[in-house]
Subunit: 95 residues, 2 copies
DNA sequence: TTGCTAATTAGATAATATGTTAAATAGCAA
DNA sequence: TTGCTATTTAACATATTATCTAATTAGCAA
C-alpha cells in the first residue's frame, strides 16, 4: 500500500514536526536542521523516510536542498486515516 | 503528547485494519483474531498497543473481552494529522 | 585545482518493535 | 473442585529503527 510508508513516517514526532514546518513553504535541509538538537545525518535520515513515503519532495538549488510538503499525498493520508476510523468525509471547503 | 502513541499505533497495517473492523461496533478478541493468520498472543499485543494509545477500549463480558473504537480519540487524531499538514478543517457534518 | 559550505551515505551500536511458543489468568459450568 | 474456553502475560529470538561519528558527494568560487 502506498500509505503504509506514510503512516510509518508519521510515527516519529520529529518527522511530524518537520512536516508542520513545511506547511508554509519550502525550507532547506539546513534551515530545518537548525531547529533540532540532533545531528544533521540523523535529520537527513528523517528526510529520507519522509521522501520515501512521498510526503515531501526535494529540489536542489545551488548547494542547498529544499524540501517541500507533497500536498497531494498529505491529503491522501488524511483520507486514508478517515477511512480507518470511518470518519464522515466532508466535501465543503469552507471557513 | 497524547497523540504520539496513537500515531505509533497507526504505523502497523494490522492495527489499522483492526480499527477498521471496529468502525461498525464492538468485536471480541477472538472474533478479530479469526481474520488474521497470526498467533493470538501477537494479536493480543496489537490490542494492547491500540489500548495504550486509547484508540480502543475494552470490556469483559463473561469470558470474552470486547473491544470497541474510541471515537473521541479517533477524531482527535484526525484533527492532529490535519494540523500536521495544515489541512483546512471543515465544520460541516454533511453528506 | 583548491578550499569552503551543504548535505548525504557508510558503518557501528543501542533501542524498539514484531512475532513465536509456553505458561498463567479469568470466567463459567458440571 | 475439575475441566473447558477465551484471552493475556512471560520469555525469548529476530528484525527494524534511531542515532552517532567519520567519510563522501556535490556545488560554487577564487
Amino acid at each position: 500500500m502506498l500509505n503504509s510508508k506514510a503512516f510509518k513516517a508519521l510515527a516519529h514526532p520529529v518527522r511530524r514536526d518537520i512536516l508542520k514546518r513545511l506547511r508554509n513553504g519550502r525550507l532547506s535541509a539546513g534551515e530545518i536542521a537548525e531547529a533540532y538538537d540532533m545531528s544533521k545525518p540523523s535529520l537527513s535520515t528523517h528526510f529520507a523516510v519522509l521522501k520515501q513515503a512521498r510526503l515531501i519532495q526535494s529540489e536542489r538549488k545551488g548547494n542547498h536542498i529544499y524540501y517541500r510538503l507533497n500536498v497531494t499525498v498529505a491529503d491522501e493520508v488524511v483520507s486514508a486515516l478517515m477511512d480507518v476510523f470511518g470518519t464522515q468525509k466532508d466535501n465543503h471547503k469552507e471557513k
